[in-house]
């Protein structure tokens, strides 16, 4: 009999600390499955963000580092420059990557660092209690944009994938979402492609993954998935933005 739901070897199997319905768990699983399928677990080193993903080192069954808030791409750069034949990935939230760590991500991308970045866009600072993120949508209410994000007050949400795709150093940039089984399948393909891009030495790869934070959005998991579809995807369109072939 075919097993339908086996735990990837690249996960430790430790119980998630994530809230019910949170996208992080789904995304961890996708990354781990790809590591398994590419058989790279033993040569992969992952870097956790500061954010809800901070404990990812408990879940990924490979060498892991935990970086300061926003600095994962710099830490990844240091690792990769020393360990040229290893696979390095960072796992970063939108506050981590697009706010405090904006300089590190932009420069790692422009240098074409051969690392893979999994960028979890859930439009809020999940870990600290749902404050506004650079990716918070116009009109979206958060604890620090209590009147809804206003372009004149808080400015516009940042589209990271669109921003980095034109960089000469980026080899693969894609945006995916996890709101439907079909989208999850696409997301997995993108994650795999990112790893493959790195394995082929083509350059920097980034997958922006639209995710949910039911807790801070004040919704149930199902409702959150719907909200993602009707609010996030229109502003953050899905698809490959850059594919450099080997």
């Amino acid at each position: 009999m075919k097993k339908v739901f086996v735990k990837p070897v690249s996960l430790t199997g430790k119980q998630w600390h994530y809230c019910p319905g949170c996208g992080h768990g789904i995304i961890h699983r996708l990354v781990a499955e790809c590591m398994d399928e590419l058989d790279i677990r033993e040569k992969t080193i992952g870097i956790c963000p500061v954010g809800c993903g901070v404990l990812a080192y408990e879940y990924f069954n490979c060498d892991m580092l935990e970086a300061a808030h926003g600095r994962a791409p710099a830490v990844g750069t240091g690792l990769k420059r020393v360990l040229k034949d290893r696979i390095i990935f960072t796992y970063q939230g939108d506050g981590d990557l697009a706010s405090i760590g904006m300089a590190e991500i932009v420069h790692a991308a422009s240098r074409g660092e051969k690392i893979s970045v999994f960028f979890i866009n859930n439009t809020v600072y999940g870990m600290t209690g749902g404050q506004m993120a650079p990716t918070t949508l116009l009109g979206q209410v958060t604890t620090t944009s209590p009147y809804g994000r206003d372009k004149d007050r808080e400015g516009y949400p940042i589209r990271i994938a669109e921003m980095l795709a034109p960089f000469e150093g980026t080899a693969y940039v894609s945006r995916v979402a996890i709101n439907t089984p079909a989208n999850v399948a696409r997301a997995k393909k993108a994650v795999k492609k990112a790893f493959e891009t790195q394995m082929q030495g083509l350059g920097f790869s980034l997958v922006e993954i639209l995710s949910t934070c039911p807790t801070n959005w004040g919704m149930g998991p199902v409702e959150a998935m719907k909200w993602l579809e009707s609010n996030m995807i229109p502003y953050y369109p899905l698809g490959d933005l850059k594919v450099k072939e080997g």
Binding site: E42, D63, G78, V82, A103, H107
Partner: protein, 352 residues
């Protein structure tokens, strides 16, 4: 071996290469830039990597990654750049990653100036970043020591799994002296903790997050057991004419050589004066200072700042003798000026 005339910053860079460092991550700032420039030329020649980071913040985190990978890694900066690195330094200290940080100091606060200074003593020795931790801090006084301390720093870093800072006045980085170039270091420390891929073993984790109350406290205790060991074994100081000294001057770095000359001159005038030059600023060589208490009636801390190391001198002396201070900012005082300060202190202490 024939000596080579080298700039302090270059001797430091070459010392790092000799120590087996192949990775430098930095961001330009005066008066440190020659370290970076030298290694930008030198490292590719030995299959190493020089990378100019987008900021000091990025540079220190690249060091975090490189050190976790198990390599000998270095960064360098000055003043505002060292401040920016503090976040990363705190992480590196807690993650127990070995690395070397050069602080070719300038005067502050703020942008301050690029003149020679020792104003970062507190920052280097008392934490600098958040949390309970220490760096080992070495203070070279000659161009030769810029090279030698690079070797020493990498060794101590690996031995104790700790970040080591080499702190020198900007002027020492700029000046030139003949250097005996050392033999390449071949000894390597095993680093079974490195995150370099888990083939054939359990995954390694480099982490600084400890949410459990007991876990966090134990981590701190662990670090401080290590610091106690470092304090017991690694205090280093140079002493001169302290055997019968009634007045003991304490000074470090390039300044200590100026003080040496002044001490010799003051001796000629009949003042029983000696010098203790801390080589390790942390761990602070308090025993070397306490030993002087047999004859010392007074101490004089001379620094290129408003009085920072003096606090450690006072702790070492522990109220058993007065501790005076003489300081300048952004200027290495001349031997004549130091001699006057010594004479003034001696007079005040009734030692003339």
């Amino acid at each position: 071996m024939a000596k080579v005339l080298m700039k302090g910053n270059e001797a430091l860079g070459e010392g790092a290469v000799i120590a087996g460092c192949r990775y430098f991550f930095g961001y330009p700032i005066t008066p440190q830039s020659e370290v970076a420039e030298y290694l930008a030329r030198r490292l590719p020649q030995v299959e190493g990597v020089f990378l100019q980071a987008e900021s000091e913040l990025a540079a220190i985190n690249m060091v975090y990654g490189g050190a976790a990978a198990g390599a000998r890694v270095m960064t360098g900066s000055s003043g505002p750049g060292i401040s920016l690195k503090q976040e990363g330094i705190s992480f590196i200290a807690e993650a127990e990653l070995p690395c070397v940080i050069a602080n070719i100091s300038r005067g502050g606060p703020g942008l301050g100036g690029i003149q020679p200074a020792q104003s970062d003593y507190f920052q280097a020795c008392k934490g600098g970043g958040h949390g309970d931790y220490h760096l080992m801090v070495l203070a070279p006084s000659s161009v030769q020591e810029m090279m030698d301390f690079a070797l020493l720093a990498f060794d101590l870093a690996d031995k104790y799994r700790t970040p080591v800072m080499i702190m020198s006045e900007g002027m020492l980085g700029q000046m030139m002296e003949p250097v005996e170039v050392r033999e390449p270091v071949t000894e390597q420390y095993a680093k079974p903790w490195a995150t370099n891929g888990c083939a054939g073993r359990k995954p390694n984790i480099v982490n600084t997050l400890h949410l459990g109350v007991e876990e966090l406290e134990e981590r701190n205790r662990h670090l401080f057991r290590k610091y106690a060991e470092i304090q017991a074994r690694e205090k280093r100081a140079e002493t001169m004419l302290t055997k019968d000294a009634e007045l003991v001057v304490v000074a470090f770095g390039l300044l200590s050589r100026v003080v040496k000359k002044a001490v010799i001159e003051a001796r000629k005038k009949g003042i029983k004066v000696g010098l203790v030059r801390p080589v390790t600023l942390w761990p602070f060589p308090d025993e070397h200072i306490r030993e002087c208490l047999e004859t010392a009636k007074m101490f004089l801390s001379i620094e290129i700042n408003m009085g920072q190391m003096i606090e450690d001198v006072r702790l070492a002396v522990n109220g058993q003798a007065p501790v005076e201070f003489y300081g300048r900012i952004g200027v290495v005082p001349s031997p004549r000026e130091v001699e006057e300060a010594i004479m003034a202190a001696a007079e005040k202490g009734g030692l003339v």
